[in-house]
Symmetry: C2
């Protein structure tokens, strides 16, 4: 019954199709914007709630800033406006009139948040100031793809101000570490963490840290970034404070964000020919129960039994759903919930009840076994942990097999064009060598904190650190 | 130290000032939009999470729909576009080009959600469809006031589709009941629930239910609405389904929403001359600890003791904060947390520790007593419940004293103009009588399900049901 395109040969078509048929998202009548359907939104809620707890644990507080930003604000930081100008959506009319100054729909909120920071920060006692916002942002997208590149997307954007460069830099690294933990220990996605090149960093930042996932087709996906903005925005928005010695100083700023793109990453790292495969920790449904019966009498017995099991498992904190659709065969239900990537499936029929057992199968194909109904909770909790761990291990193995070390672009470039993959190589860090990657449809993804190669992938100058080179989304 | 305007004589100025000085909100550089600061946003998060649980318990699922709506969509439902046209913000340029069709920033999402409903609903098996969205919406506001009337605001908008008129009407009522429960049992605000008049109902709806709070100045505040949309939007967006008899039918729709205005209601119903007073169930901080010490030695002892108390209370699920600011006197701290409306304050000094006691005072002035440190958790839990109940009772008493029954507008109208207040009266339900209220700066707030008066407040025709008349925000 499965009609998904071949995941190995048509990865991009497979992705589109699985997103729609598993009801994660749908097209909308607004170009570049998508509807996130309840099942996809529930996954996002679990990711969001997990990240929100981590953010709050750093002493950062949530707040809300306006959707609209005066056009002049974006122009205050020269690199910033240059970076975002081509992607802006602009409100020119409102309340039945033409506006005196057009309003930009926020592509990110540094400018308006820093304007407010200047009002709130007066003394070193006001620092560090750590603010986060969960919001929708808009960047006009010419080649939209659900979750990966969309005109409107959802994210959190954190913005902090610190007394010293050192403290700001440590916080930039701290937030990257929180993201990496989210990716690896909740989304089950091993990532490559590093520093963006000067070309690829955030417009206006001193330094951008990134964490990149490796998708099944061997392309990299930037999953989120943490920026040391340093003092450039503080100067543009005149954020000043009286420091401990009583003199006026500019604070050091950071900003960091992760988006609904994480949903796309989960799909592209874990999915298979049957559909989605969702990590238990963030899966909207962790276990689906399929009651199996024929006659009316056995139906009542089975429905009573599955209801009891649901109550027991739900009381243990497991997210359970019973599929009661009487318009579908059990086989059609198996297929449906495999497509939707539910980690565990429990089948229960009259014969199982007679033996006080239920059949439990997992989405990874690790096991399908009869489990005593009395021991179900323990089994399910342990098995969900095993699935979570196995998913991470499998993704890590796959990443390893796609991660190559190679010296010279001329040698590995043609390989990269044809088969994708992640290439670790040396680089002199000059933009002219970086530009050579374009002809292979690739770019630098991040600089690593290690040095394996003596010379640059393109020229004969010494390599400064290793760099990751790949195609990307 | 308190410099708030007189709450009895200058209620409007008091509101503005308390919102800003308690750091609930701040002005923004975008006209009509405000910044919700962390303390105000945390209150909103507690309200939102409470309501979100209630919504999910009705079987409604969260999803996300685009911020932008094609201008032509709004025009499909004639009354709808007429109602919203003057308030729209319009994106005319994006991605560096003029758009072929302008995009409206959503003032509400019926049109785009119903467009999607038409794609998703085919059979009676797809019904009921119950979707909710937490989102920002924009309605251009000429007289903005933080939380009450803002160009951009946050809300949830629920949208459902049902097989029958009866089921849709029952769900419309169910959601109103959920809102009333939220208001009364969490926000501690007694409300008046009823039906909007034909003039005041949602543009395009068959019927609008509302719940109205009574503010301390005797004005009404519409706190949220639940609409029976019936079939008008289903026709406009061609939502059709095969019913149980196999014929094509149009579903019956509902929509319902509550906004960040609820934060303003909490401020205006409970605040006093000292500042905010927050209901314990939704207060960001339920108890603040003020350590009291002089010498360096007693400081360590006191700080150790308050840390232990914080841990114990937090483990009971109480939201606690220790005020460690060493730049403020205890007196200044008392004043600060009273302004911020924290329900309970705990003071602890060396002498208290010696007696194994702490001083606990509540924001309502009910009690200030020495409580054994061993019994703190029990005392605090009980006292928070008492405060919650007392706040509701006090608000109800106040509402009662402001709620008058009166027969003829000519008699009560001048009273209403001068002293505000809520007037319950009779009404023939003709718009020409309703219009007469304008000269008294009042309007109908809702029709009640009772009949006390023989004739209309304005003419001599029979009254159909009682109606609530008041000034409003």
């Amino acid at each position: 019954m499965n009609t998904l395109p071949d995941i190995k040969k048509q990865f991009s078509e497979w992705y589109q199709e699985v997103i729609y048929s598993a009801e994660f998202a749908d097209h909308s009548p607004v170009r570049g914007s998508f509807v996130i359907r309840p099942y996809g939104y529930s996954l996002w809620e679990h990711i969001r709630d997990t990240l929100d707890k981590k953010i709050k644990a750093t002493g950062t507080q949530n707040a809300a800033f306006p959707l609209f930003i005066p056009e002049s604000f974006l122009k205050r930081e020269a690199e910033h406006v240059e970076g975002f100008a081509p992607e802006l959506a602009v409100v020119t009319h409102a309340g039945g009139k033409e506006l005196e100054e057009p309003l930009v729909v926020r592509p990110t909120s540094e400018t308006i948040i820093h304007y407010m920071f200047a009002r709130w920060i007066n003394s070193w006692r006001d620092l560090p100031l750590k603010i986060n916002q969960w919001a929708n942002v808009v960047r006009w997208e010419m080649r939209p793809r659900a979750f990966l590149r969309t005109t409107e997307f959802f994210w959190q954007e954190g913005h902090t101000a610190h007394e010293t460069h050192q403290e700001a830099w440590e916080f930039t690294q701290r937030m990257l570490a929180e993201y990496v933990d989210l990716a690896e220990n909740y989304l089950a996605i091993p990532v490559i963490a590093g520093t963006k090149s000067e070309q690829e960093k955030f417009p206006g930042a001193e330094k951008t840290l990134t964490f990149e996932g490796v998708m099944q087709d061997g392309k990299a996906l930037q999953m989120g970034t943490s920026h040391l903005l340093s003092q450039s925005f503080a100067h543009s928005f005149e954020i000043k404070f009286q420091d401990r010695s009583g003199t006026l100083a500019y604070p050091y700023l950071t900003s960091w964000g992760a988006t609904t793109r994480l949903v796309g990453a989960v799909v592209m790292v874990h999915g298979d020919q049957k559909g989605l495969v969702l990590p238990p920790k963030i899966a909207p449904i962790q276990l689906v129960i399929i009651p199996i019966f024929k006659s009316g009498e056995s139906k009542d017995v089975v429905l009573n039994a599955v209801q009891k099991i649901e109550n027991t498992l739900a009381a243990t904190g497991i997210r359970v759903k019973i599929d009661l659709d009487d318009n579908k065969t059990p086989g059609a239900k198996f297929w449906h919930w495999e497509l939707k990537g539910v980690p565990l499936r429990l089948e229960l029929g009259p014969r199982d009840i007679a033996q006080n057992k239920a059949i439990v199968a997992d989405r990874l194909g690790l096991a399908k076994e009869a489990v005593s109904i009395d021991e179900l909770s323990t089994y399910v909790v342990q098995h969900l942990e095993l699935i979570q761990k196995t998913m991470f291990d499998r993704a890590k193995e796959r990443r390893q097999s796609q991660w190559h070390k190679a010296e010279k672009l001329k040698v590995f470039g043609p390989e990269l064009v044809e088969h994708n993959g992640i290439y670790q190589t040396g680089w002199c860090q000059r933009p002219e060598c970086e530009k050579e990657l374009k002809q292979y449809q690739a770019a630098t993804r991040c600089l690593l904190n290690e040095k394996t190669f003596a010379t640059c992938f393109n020229c004969d100058l010494p390599s400064i650190t290793d760099v990751i080179v790949a195609k990307s989304y």
